[in-house]
Symmetry: C2
Subunit: 111 residues, 2 copies
Amino acid sequence: MILHDIYTIIAEPSRRRILDCLLRSDATVKDLTEELGLSQPLISSHLRLLRESGLVRVQADAQRRIYSLDASPLTGVDDWLSTYRAKWNQHVDRLEEHLDRQKRIKKENLQ
Amino acid sequence: MILHDIYTIIAEPSRRRILDCLLRSDATVKDLTEELGLSQPLISSHLRLLRESGLVRVQADAQRRIYSLDASPLTGVDDWLSTYRAKWNQHVDRLEEHLDRQKRIKKENLQ
DNA sequence: AACTAGTATAAATAATCGTTTATATAAATA
DNA sequence: TATTTATATAAACGATTATTTATACTAGTT
């Protein structure tokens, strides 16, 4: 078996939808199949990967399995992203500067 | 051909390494092959996807192609992550509470 | 005890993707 | 003009992965 890193885990749209569901509230496998309109085995296989990557926890309730979110493994992604945050802020800053300049020019032309 | 969303783009380790390189400084294809130890066609094919997703820009310089980073498409990922940030902060908070309690108990035992 | 509900897993498949090899293009150099 | 340098791309291959189908297991329910 292959160890999945967190980036490939969240690359899958259905898995992100599962996480988004669990962010709102804990849910059983059946809950998730109904909310997302995916087959039970598919949900289960995604949940397995999410479990192995530490993003979800399971708690047994009779036949049911109640899944809940543990977002902490996402901090790694957040750390990686934070290096880039400065960059796109530069972009936004430059855009704002540009708009300010435009505004100033417009004003000057009106005088 | 298939449209790649930003999550699958950054799921690939080599592509993240390319982005990390470009974060430090602009680079030609050759620069990247030497820095990352990957074949030229492989670098080029990764760069193509990065270009298509808007994460990099190209500028021609004779035969060379100078690639530079545009981090702004990553804001989408950042927005998605921000929903989860509150969650893992809860975890950290609980951990801190726990440690504080431990400390307090230790102190009380020493008195 | 038979049946139903909820879930996991194994096998099979189809599609996708990373990687290599080979080739084409375009600009610079000799 | 022939050669070299830098890059892109197409074809081929192997590996991985998402998804379906079928099945097994476990805990209630009748």
